[in-house]
């Protein structure tokens, strides 16, 4: 969909990053302790199994996500709203260096020397969504910039997931709205991995932290899985529209996935099937 040219981005560090799924973890710049903890934990668990954690190097949730990934020894990418030579906020100078040192990268669509400007950040958010397979919103108040990333992801037909919070917390209003609108709910890294279509290989112990990860994204078929929810059904026609493929082909792939037990019929459409032992508590 988005003809995002990865090589056209300015980058510092290893770019493009190592192969593997990329998950953006974004959220409020002034998170609750809960949000910060979630971002860090989630990033760590995902990075440990080989997911590249993408975030925006901003204060709060972004920083927590980068930190989490680094703590787990994983790779993380910071998509910046400034030139890659200007770290904003300056307090994250050290974090930025650690990201590069950890095998990750700082990337930006803006030329070197670009100062932080208000109008650049929405574009940065779009790039972040484009670079990722899944966008997880950890905490977002109404009108938060993280919601722009989520919206961009939807436009790009990427899966958007959201972490629930307290109903009394204004910082969770945005995420709850996303969930209400169909974003998958994230309780732990497993949920995100399931959305990546890799759950089957990972999780033997439903409560444990994922340890093995064989990202066997088996070609085109699984492009479909990324679009399917396991709760709300989607029709073959809708999928065909999203994937821009002939409906006959999508129907065939769905049937093939159905034969493998990866999807099942629900109503007039399809949902992702939860395999035995994979059902979450």
């Amino acid at each position: 969909m988005s003809p995002l040219d990865v090589s056209a981005l300015n980058a510092r560090g290893r770019w493009p990053p190592p192969a593997g799924p990329r998950v953006a973890i974004v959220g409020s710049r002034r998170p609750s302790p809960y949000g910060e903890a979630v971002a860090e934990q989630l990033a760590a668990d995902l990075a440990r199994v080989g997911v590249v954690v993408v975030s925006g190097l901003a204060l709060g949730c972004d920083a927590a996500a980068h930190r989490g990934a680094l703590l787990a020894g994983g790779v993380t990418v910071a998509v910046m709203g400034t030139g890659v030579d200007i770290v904003y906020p300056a307090s994250h100078l050290r974090l930025a260096e650690e990201i590069v040192a950890g095998g990750g990268a700082l990337v930006s669509q803006f030329p070197n020397g670009s100062e932080p400007r208000r109008q650049n950040f929405p574009a940065r958010n779009f790039t972040m969504a484009a670079l990722s397979d899944v966008v997880v919103v950890v905490e977002a108040a109404q009108g938060s910039g993280a919601l722009i990333t989520a919206e961009a992801a939807l436009d790009l037909h990427k899966e958007v997931m959201a972490v629930p919070g307290s109903i009394f917390s204004p910082l969770s209003v945005g995420t709850h709205n996303l969930i209400r609108d169909g974003a998958a709910l994230v309780q732990n890294a497993r949920d995100v991995l399931a959305a990546l279509g890799a759950a089957g290989e990972v999780l033997d112990d439903p409560l444990g932290t994922p340890t093995r990860l064989g990202f066997g994204l088996k070609g085109e078929r699984d492009g479909i899985l990324l679009h399917l929810s396991d709760v709300l059904s989607m029709s073959a026609a809708e999928l065909a529209r999203k994937l821009q493929l002939p409906v006959a082909e999508v129907l065939g792939r769905l049937t093939s996935l159905e034969l493998d037990g990866a999807v099942r019929r629900h109503g007039q459409g399809y949902v992702r099937a939860l395999r035995r032992g994979e059902e979450r508590a």
């Binding site: 709300l232 059904s233 029709s235 073959a236 026609a237 809708e238 065909a240 529209r241 409906v247 006959a248 082909e249 129907l251 065939g252 792939r253 769905l254 049937t255 093939s256 034969l259 019929r265 629900h266 109503g267 007039q268 459409g269």
Partner: protein
């Protein structure tokens, strides 16, 4: 004097010859009509008497006997009025009717000759039986004139006809109306270009049209099921001559032909209401059965909306015609067979309230209710429907935008070439392939056979279901223009089996 005139009565899509013999002999002036005449024929006595008098002819003042032979065959309808009157008039005058000529028509009291149903069927059968001349009501003359090798005399009034027979006047015959295939570039009433989204269902109706497969659309109210169904005739090729003829004959029997345009090249589309009776749907009536909706839909589309609302016995009666393309109905008057080779397009809600599985609204039905509703569809009828697809509501935003789908004409091109492939290869559409022929003309690649077998095991497909999926795969390959049936074709075909549930 004795005079004999030929006519016929219709038995389904066949006409049986009837000889009308009129004899006036000495005795009290009386009028006997014998030869197993039903009430409608007995009434002919009164009409004929008045018509003859009012035509300025003499009605025999003698003991008059009219015999309808063969006497053991029951005769119905008003079409014998005219031949009876001609026989009586000729008997009175003392002349014989011209050889190899037949008469059919109803009389008004003033001697005018009125329309009867089934003239086309009669004309075809009489021509085959060796008749050369056919006197018909002038309003029906263009029907009869479709038959080559039969001189059709259009008759308006008994008086003219008698004058013609006596050589005092001459009625010019109706010229043979050679059927000319019209190119049907006429704007379609329902064009696929107007359908928003619904890519899956669009593809399904294309496959249905290409292979002659039956189709079931399941979806919530307002999803566009009816619109899609109405688009099906438009993506079918126009009728060929033989088909148009069959369609016209059924319509002729029912008096349904468009005056002045007996042959119509557009595919029939019939959409009976779900309250339809068994007789209305498959054919029936007292005495001899008349064609029902399924025969009116012959070579076209039978659309059954709200399939689950039809009475179960009515739906069960569809099974034989769905398999054989014909229906045989036996009534007191005898047994008749009508053609019924139609494409069934059925539509249903997924549950009684209609919203089961909809993304925006919640279904209010209890699980038991849903179960009962779906059970009404299941079983033998569903097993005979090759394509079963879900239809979702199109988002409002999409409805407001300009539709981007293909036009019916484009789809019809593909359908036409797929049908041509099938007819060239096997002489019939894929849906009509018998299992033996299917094995011969629809070779499955090893991988695709395995896929089909895996599915059958998982879903507990019947042998019939297995073959149906196979035929649909054949059609998918034909639409693509390839001979070998690959995995993708089988997978697509299995994707149209919404109602297969895990065994």
């Amino acid at each position: 004097m004795l005079a004999t005139v030929h006519s016929c009565v219709l038995v389904g899509l066949e006409a049986r010859r009837v000889e009308v013999q009129a004899d006036s002999a000495n005795g009290d002036p009386k009028f006997f009509l014998v030869g197993l005449a039903a009430t409608s024929v007995k009434e002919a006595r009164e009409r004929v008497r008045s018509a003859i008098k009012n035509s300025g002819l003499d009605f025999p003042r003698a003991r008059l006997t009219v015999n309808l032979a063969p006497a053991e065959m029951r005769k119905q309808g008003s079409g014998l009025d005219f031949p009876i009157a001609v026989a009586i008039a000729l008997a009175e005058i003392g002349k014989q009717a011209p050889a190899r000529s037949a008469f059919l028509g109803e009389l008004a009291l003033d001697g005018a000759i009125r329309h009867v149903d089934g003239v086309l069927v009669a004309a075809r059968c009489l021509q085959k039986a060796g008749f050369e001349r056919f006197f018909v009501p002038s309003v029906d003359a263009n029907e009869a004139a479709l038959i080559e090798g039969l001189e059709v005399i259009p008759c308006t009034h008994l008086q003219h006809v008698v004058a013609h027979l006596l050589g005092e006047d001459w009625i010019p015959p109706q010229p043979f109306a050679k059927a000319i295939l019209e190119s049907s570039n006429a704007a379609l009433e329902h064009d696929l270009v107007e359908v928003h989204g619904q890519e899956e269902a669009r593809r399904a109706i294309e496959v249905a049209a290409a292979g002659g497969h039956h189709l079931l659309l399941t979806g919530p109210p307002g999803a566009g099921k009816t619109m899609l169904a109405r688009c099906v005739p438009g993506i079918l090729p126009p009728l060929d001559l033989g088909e148009a003829f069959e369609v016209a004959q059924v319509r002729s029997l029912l008096g349904d032909l468009i005056p002045g345009k007996p042959l119509d090249w557009t595919r029939p589309f019939r959409a009976p209401h779900h309250g339809v009776s068994m007789a209305g749907l498959v054919g029936g009536g007292s005495g001899l059965a008349l064609p029902g909706e399924i025969s009116r839909a012959n070579h076209g589309v039978l659309f059954l909306d709200e399939l689950a609302e039809f009475q179960a016995p009515v739906l069960q009666a569809l099974r034989q015609p769905l398999e054989t393309g014909r229906v045989t109905i036996t009534r007191s008057g005898g047994s008749v067979t009508y053609p019924a080779r139609f494409t069934l397009v059925a539509a249903t809600n997924p549950c009684p309230c209609g919203w089961l599985g909809d993304s925006a609204r919640t279904c209010r039905c209890t699980p038991g209710l849903v179960d009962a509703y779906q059970r009404r569809l299941s079983g033998p009828l569903l097993d005979r429907i090759d394509l079963q697809v879900g239809v979702c509501r199109v988002p409002l935003a999409e409805l407001a935008s300009e539709p981007r789908g293909e036009a019916s004409a484009t789809v019809r091109e593909r359908v036409l070439s797929a049908r041509t492939r099938q007819l060239d290869r096997q002489g019939c559409l894929n849906a009509q392939l018998k299992p033996k022929r299917l094995r011969e003309v629809a070779l499955l690649e090893p991988g695709s056979r395995r896929t089909l077998e895996r599915w059958s095991e998982q879903k507990g497909l019947t042998a019939r279901g297995f073959h149906r999926a196979w035929r649909v795969a054949r059609t998918a390959a034909d639409l693509e223009g390839t001979e070998a049936i690959g995995d993708r074709h089988v997978l697509e075909a299995l994707g149209y089996r919404l109602h297969d549930v895990a065994a």
